[in-house]
């Protein structure tokens, strides 16, 4: 009998048990919170629905930024800390065009053209910034240990932020309202802001396009080959520099689009606006499985929903005051929880136990 117990005990993985217990504890607390909140019945059904809608909308923004993040990561295995700032560069520059167009009245008389023009400018700016960053801060260090480009990425992030602070000033600039996107609309019985709907639709479309591109086109395959082994990829005839540059261009263009949409929703831009979305997008990308395109999208939506719903649903039931202050705690706890039960993120491929 004791033999058996011993046999069993020897085979238990304490790490797993500890980690799982940890995860379980979080879950239990969360469930208690949820029960508490439901018991309180503080919110109406409509309000609960609103939370979900807000979450999905915010999630769409996260998803959009996370796509670019995950793309660069997937190819270079590099946490591009500057991605949030590349996003800012596009949105901020787009503002000036928006303001001018608004001044001349074109902004609201030809909204779609204006929007496309602004997006184009934002994309170009983001792409230029990304290309300079790549050329100066990343390319020379491609063979260096992995922590080194991480540091230059951090340096690039500061540099971009404060460059634009110097160029455009430190104030908050207000994006003009675009009339056709003002107000709400009804989808499947849900009242949702028109801009939000735009963001959600666009992020899904872009995700699908990106996924198809990476997965099925020749260029996409070349990207994945470069991700695995640059030398061997070049032996296949793939121009590695070109592919990397393309990746940055793609990621930055997405960031530019995301920037303009972001500005349309929140109607303000300033030089520091990229920092927090950058980190959130990174989190979303990891939740979904970093490097994985649909994962980034899923991660973004989940993160958005949890942030919107979590404080009211979980924390308030636990009797925690000012619960919205702790929404990032929820976001990061969610991240830990996901990684505990799925160490490579929700959709990250399980690199079936590395080949020994």
């Amino acid at each position: 009998m004791s033999e058996k117990i011993k046999y069993f005990l020897e085979r238990i993985s304490w790490v797993d048990i500890m980690v799982w217990l940890f995860g379980l504890a979080i879950l239990v607390i969360a469930v208690i919170g949820v029960i508490g909140s439901i018991h309180n019945a503080y919110y109406t059904k409509e309000q609960w629905m609103d939370f979900v809608v807000f979450g999905i909308s915010q999630g769409g923004v996260y998803a959009l930024i996370a796509l670019g993040y995950t793309l660069v990561y997937g190819i270079l295995f590099m946490i591009n800390f500057a991605h949030g700032d590349i996003f800012m560069a596009g949105a901020f520059t787009g503002y000036f065009l928006a303001a001018k167009l608004n001044q001349y009245g074109i902004y609201n008389s030809h909204p779609i053209i204006s929007l496309l023009l602004i997006m184009l400018l934002a994309m170009v700016t983001s792409v230029v910034v990304a290309l300079i960053t790549e050329r100066v801060a990343y390319r020379p260090l491609r063979k260096a240990p992995r922590l080194v480009p991480l540091i230059t990425a951090i340096g690039a992030s500061f540099t971009i932020e404060y460059t634009f602070r110097g160029l455009y000033g430190s104030g908050v600039e207000a994006y003009p309202d675009m009339k056709i996107f003002v107000g709400k609309t009804s989808v499947l019985g849900l009242r949702i802001l028109k801009v939000h709907l735009l963001v959600i639709i666009l992020s899904i479309l872009l995700m699908a396009a990106l996924y198809a591109y990476v997965q099925y086109t020749k260029a996409g395959k070349a990207m994945r080959a470069v991700a695995e082994d640059k030398d061997v990829a070049s032996l296949m005839g793939v121009d590695v520099d070109r592919v990397i540059v393309n990746t940055f261009i793609l990621g930055a263009a997405l960031a530019g689009i995301a920037g303009v949409l972001y500005a349309l929703i929140f109607k303000q831009v300033h030089f520091f606006m990229g920092f927090i979305p950058g980190i959130k997008a990174f989190t979303a990308a990891v939740v979904g499985g970093i490097g994985n395109v649909p994962g980034a999208m899923l991660g973004g939506f989940i993160l958005g929903i949890f942030e919107a719903l979590g404080p009211g649903l979980i924390l308030e039931g636990l009797g925690i005051p000012a619960s919205y202050q702790l929404k990032d705690v929820i976001a990061f706890t969610l991240l830990v929880l996901v990684l505990i039960f799925r160490p490579t993120g929700l959709m990250g491929e399980r690199l079936s136990e590395e080949k020994v």
């Binding site: 919110y43 430190s170 207000a174 309202d177 109607k267 927090i276 000012a322 929404k327 990032d328």
Partner: protein
């Protein structure tokens, strides 16, 4: 000729030789997310210096003096305040310092500079502890309103004038906002009202709808969020989009008094109330500012900063002894005393009188209403 002055001040004197500038420090937040506060205050200080120089040409001309502003970044943190203060304190030619912006930086800075017998006057520290009887530093003063004063005014206005019975508040985790809403809530309760929700967001948050939805569930008469431009504008806008807040009156404080706020919040800001110093929108000052920096003041404390600097310069002039050769001697203790004895000083923020703990702001708080994109004082009635 040789100097004939003998310094008898127990803390020593600053001697400014002919041709040398009189140096005053500016320890402000000049980097990071809060830097618009510092940039704004710095403008106030520099314009005050310009005005003082223009008004006191003769006094300065004797020894060919000028006034130099030595700026240091005190950031919005305790260690930043400490570093800036250490650096300024190490420079024996600094006469006085304007700063800091954030109360967290003011905590250590006030102690260090007081230890070095250099007065520190803050345009935007509002934490009560800085001028509380036991904890205040020896030579620390401020022209900003102690949170206790402003919070009280807000609560009284909401309860008495607006007739509100319930109030909700939001702060952004800054000591300033957190304290202010707490004071407002406390006073509101004393008056007989109810604080139905005290919520908080984080700096950098953009989606305020969930927190507003929560507040909407308690249907407050007044929503008070004494925070800064960025998040303030977002709350103002999104409050219009959240069902249940249609009849709630929005209120803020001086952190949001700025043209940038009107721009950022747009139409949603119409009809909103903001508490602040008596003269919030000084056209004349704004013109000077635009002429000098090519932009409008980015935040709301430039007038306080202007007053702080003017107060300091006036006190310097008052205690300074000009030598035959033009050397200016400034006794340090006397300067500090002169500052504390400031009475009925007509500044841009009102009539300032300093109490023994260093609070100098005019106790009169205005409530402004935003009408047609302008801050219009509506209370107290003239």
């Amino acid at each position: 000729g040789k100097s004939s002055y003998k310094c008898e001040d127990p803390y020593g004197c600053v001697n400014v030789a002919p041709g040398q500038p009189i140096k005053i420090g500016a320890a402000l937040v000049l980097s990071g997310p809060n830097e618009s506060l510092g940039v704004d205050s710095l403008g106030g200080v520099e314009i005050a210096v310009d005005d003082f120089t223009a008004a006191n040409k003769d006094w300065l001309a004797k020894g060919k003096h000028s006034i130099q502003v030595v700026k240091e970044d005190s950031q919005c943190s305790a260690e930043g305040g400490q570093t800036a203060a250490q650096k300024l304190a190490a420079d024996k030619s600094i006469v006085g310092v304007i700063g800091t912006n954030c109360s967290s930086a003011g905590e250590p800075a006030s102690k260090i500079l007081s230890d070095a017998h250099i007065p520190l006057i803050s345009p935007s520290n509002t934490a009560p502890s800085l001028t509380a009887p036991k904890t205040h530093a020896e030579c620390y003063l401020r022209t900003a309103h102690n949170d206790k004063v402003q919070g009280k005014a807000v609560a009284e206005f909401a309860y008495k004038v607006l007739g509100a019975k319930t109030m909700a508040t939001i702060h952004d985790g800054s000591p300033y906002a957190e304290q202010l809403q707490q004071v407002a809530c406390d006073v509101f309760k004393q008056l007989g009202g109810k604080c139905v929700a005290q919520e908080a967001i984080n700096v950098g948050d953009t989606d305020m709808r969930p927190v507003l939805t929560k507040i909407a569930a308690s249907k407050p008469d007044v929503l008070y969020y004494p925070i800064f431009i960025q998040e303030g504008a977002l709350i103002t806008q999104q409050a219009k989009e959240v069902p249940g807040l249609e009849n709630t009156v929005l209120m803020g404080s001086d952190g949001m008094i700025s043209p940038d706020f009107i721009k950022a919040a747009g139409k949603a800001a119409e009809g909103m109330y903001l508490s602040g110093p008596a003269a919030v929108n000084n056209e004349e000052f704004n013109k000077k500012y635009e002429a000098k920096y090519g932009q409008e003041p980015p935040s709301a404390f430039h007038l306080h900063a202007y007053d702080a600097a003017t107060m300091l310069l006036n006190a310097i002039k008052k205690v300074a002894v000009v030598d035959k050769d033009g050397t200016i001697h400034i006794p340090r203790k006397a300067l500090c005393q002169a500052l504390f004895s400031t009475k009925n000083f007509k500044g841009l923020t009102g009539t300032l009188t300093c109490n023994q703990y260093g609070d100098c702001a005019d106790p009169k708080i205005n409530i402004n209403k935003i009408i047609n994109g302008k801050y219009v004082p509506v209370w107290p009635k003239k």
